[in-house]
């Protein structure tokens, strides 16, 4: 189902669930507009009117005006009275509890240790919710993102100001200092990225937020108009010696057999060489020849150290 499109109730159960949740919500939001209420419950305004009409017919046995709920929504604003039985919100379900407990845990992992008040509040909430829905506490979620870094990045985006970041480049295994103009934060495949203009590369770059070690505001000039240098991709071929899951995942190829030749390309010669090393002999690099011979030399040097 597409997000943010109003869901019109198809199943009477789904509708019943919503009706039960509507009563306590209106109860604490007396006078809320029909439009706002429909938005909170993610339905169309017409569906909301139909929901309220149904609720208006409900109450205690007897079903005289004395026992029925009193709903008023003709003016476009909704009020409710005489609904004491359903006035308090329903307890949360197992599924809702899972969502909250994991959500709290990932939240905790991003909070700096100085905020002991928040960490304590989160711990207490997790326990209370877990108890409520019979949830094991053996759930954990963490994000590797530093709270300080995201705060600086967000501020820089908001103020269109520059940042001096120290960034860990995984392939080169180097930490470099770069001055960037942050543009936006994006999410892709489970990682959060900063899209920024980099004054070191003189081009736009994506930086993984979890690899930004620190970020401080910096003076910048307007981005230069010098044309960026576009790096070229390096083609390579590897032959599978031993099919392993590591190789399958690294090269994103699940059909592997001994002897399979994989051809691909990468922007980084470091990535190619390190991937072959990390595969520990499960693959052989066929080309390019220069990376291959360099790799053989490096492996021999390391091996000599162990044997020396």
């Amino acid at each position: 189902m597409a997000k943010n499109t109003p869901k019109n109730a198809v199943s009477p159960l789904e509708r019943t669930s919503r009706l039960l949740d509507l009563v306590p919500y209106i109860n604490t939001h007396q006078g809320i507009s029909l439009v706002d209420l429909a938005e909170v419950f993610e339905v169309s305004t017409n569906q909301m009117i139909s929901d309220l009409t149904t609720l208006w017919m409900c109450g205690l046995p007897g079903y005289t005006p004395l026992e029925l709920m009193d709903l008023d929504f003709e003016s476009g604003y909704v009020t409710i009275s005489n609904a004491p039985t359903l006035a308090r919100p329903r307890s949360i379900t197992h599924e809702e509890g899972v969502a909250l407990v994991l959500g709290l845990d990932v939240l905790r992992s991003g909070i700096s240790t100085e905020r002991a008040d928040l960490i304590e509040a989160i711990g207490s909430l997790s326990q209370r919710i877990a108890r409520l829905v019979n949830l094991p506490l053996a759930l954990s979620a963490s994000s590797d993102i530093s709270h300080e870094v995201t705060t600086s990045v967000k501020e820089a985006i908001a103020h269109r100001s520059g940042l001096l970041i120290s960034y860990h480049s995984l392939y080169k295994d180097e930490i470099s200092a770069r001055v960037v103009l942050p543009l936006e934060m994006l999410e892709s495949q489970g990682y959060l990225y900063l899209h920024a203009y980099c004054f070191t590369a003189l081009d736009f770059r994506h930086f993984r937020i979890d690899r930004i070690q620190s970020a401080n505001s910096a003076e910048i000039e307007k981005p230069s108009t010098v044309p960026p240098v576009n790096p070229e991709k390096i083609g390579f071929a590897v032959k599978v010696v031993r099919p392993t899951r590591d190789v399958a995942e690294r090269f994103q190829e699940s059909n592997l057999e001994a002897g399979t030749v994989l051809k691909s390309s990468s922007f980084s010669q470091h990535w190619i060489a390190r991937s072959v090393l990390a595969s520990g002999g499960a693959i052989e690099l066929l080309s390019p020849a220069d990376i291959r011979s360099d790799l053989a030399k490096r492996a021999k040097v390391i091996l000599n150290r162990y044997e020396g």
Binding site: P12, R90, L104, S143, T151
Partner: protein, 315 residues
């Protein structure tokens, strides 16, 4: 559609009546007083049975009992207010705000709808939010539509999960596991559990599971292993440290795993708890000549034989 509306109406009225009553009310009282039960006595019965099931599927607990201990021939029903209502004890504005952020972390992920429903309930408590004191980091989840409640329910009830798993050597194997922990980090989801064929704790990555999980009734007596650590999803007792040298200014990914670091000139000596020796050896090899392994011997042996293979293949 009138049928849909009448069904919902009847369910709401039934809920209200069962909530409002202190004593158990019988089926005949229900049919007599609650609006919507019509037709022959069999069709009323069928309607009521389905309604009870429906309310239970919404998470509403219906108590069955007898209101008269002397004449307990007819069962009665009621819903306890304290089981129906959300009760998190005293809850502060700050706590409500933290829960809102926790729910937001699911935006676009599998439990987004559940999180939003929970949030509506929390907002119905009528407590203002306290945004001034909130952290402004943005955690978020990413999953490929995993059925997380299926897993957490299996953990809570010690059920067995059966699934097909891709092993390290790419072979495919059926596993039967009593799950004990669930964790996510760096975009991956992990499941830990006691593998029933070897009776030991093993960890599985969800994206290596082929197909879906099947839930089976668990073993009669099951106890979560004592040394299990839900943060790392490993048994603590097994974790020995690797002692390795890392060139200064290099090996950031390895340093992030270190439990201790000491400087020895051009190099730093670090200790890393070994959770999975294959993963660690691949990470060490990735770092080439910027790393040197001292111990344990098992790790050294893997590194040396890997390097011999690499030299053999490329030399």
């Amino acid at each position: 559609m009138p049928t849909v509306s009448r069904k919902s109406e009847r369910l709401i009225n039934l809920t209200i009546a069962l909530l409002a009553t202190k004593r158990f009310i019988t089926k005949s009282e229900i049919f007599k007083t609650i609006e919507g039960y019509e037709g022959s006595s069999e069709s009323k019965e069928r309607m009521f049975e389905r309604d009870k099931e429906d309310l239970r599927s919404l998470g509403i607990e219906i108590e069955v009992g007898s209101f008269d201990p002397l004449f307990n021939d007819e069962a009665g029903y009621r819903i306890k207010q304290e089981r129906y209502q959300l009760d998190l004890g005293e809850i502060t504005a700050l706590e409500i705000s933290l829960l809102s952020l926790a729910a937001q972390a699911w935006q676009g992920a599998s439990l987004d709808d559940a999180a939003q429903r929970a949030l509506v309930k929390l907002n119905s408590l009528g407590i203002a939010v306290d945004e001034a004191n909130l952290p402004d980091s943005i955690p978020f989840f990413s999953d490929e539509g995993l059925d997380l409640p299926k897993i957490t329910r299996a953990i809570a009830e010690h059920q067995i999960l059966e699934f097909t798993y891709r092993n390290y050597d790419l072979s495919v194997e059926n596993r039967s596991v009593v799950p004990i922990g669930l964790s996510t980090r760096s975009g991956y989801w992990y499941l830990a559990g006691v593998d029933q064929s070897i009776e030991e704790v093993r960890t599985f990555r969800f994206d290596r599971v082929i197909g879906t999980f099947t839930v089976k009734r668990g073993p009669k007596k099951f106890e979560t292993p004592e040394n299990f650590d839900s943060q790392t999803l490993f048994e603590r007792v097994k974790s020995i440290d690797a002692v390795i040298d890392v060139r200064r200014g290099k090996g950031t990914s390895l340093r992030a795993l270190a439990s201790s670091t000491k400087s020895i000139g051009e190099w730093d000596q670090i200790q890393i708890p070994i959770l999975d020796i294959k993963t660690l050896s691949a990470l060490i090899l990735w770092h080439g000549d910027d790393v040197y392994v001292h111990s344990p011997m098992e790790l050294r042996a893997i590194i040396i034989s890997s390097l011999e293979d690499i030299v053999g293949a490329h030399g």
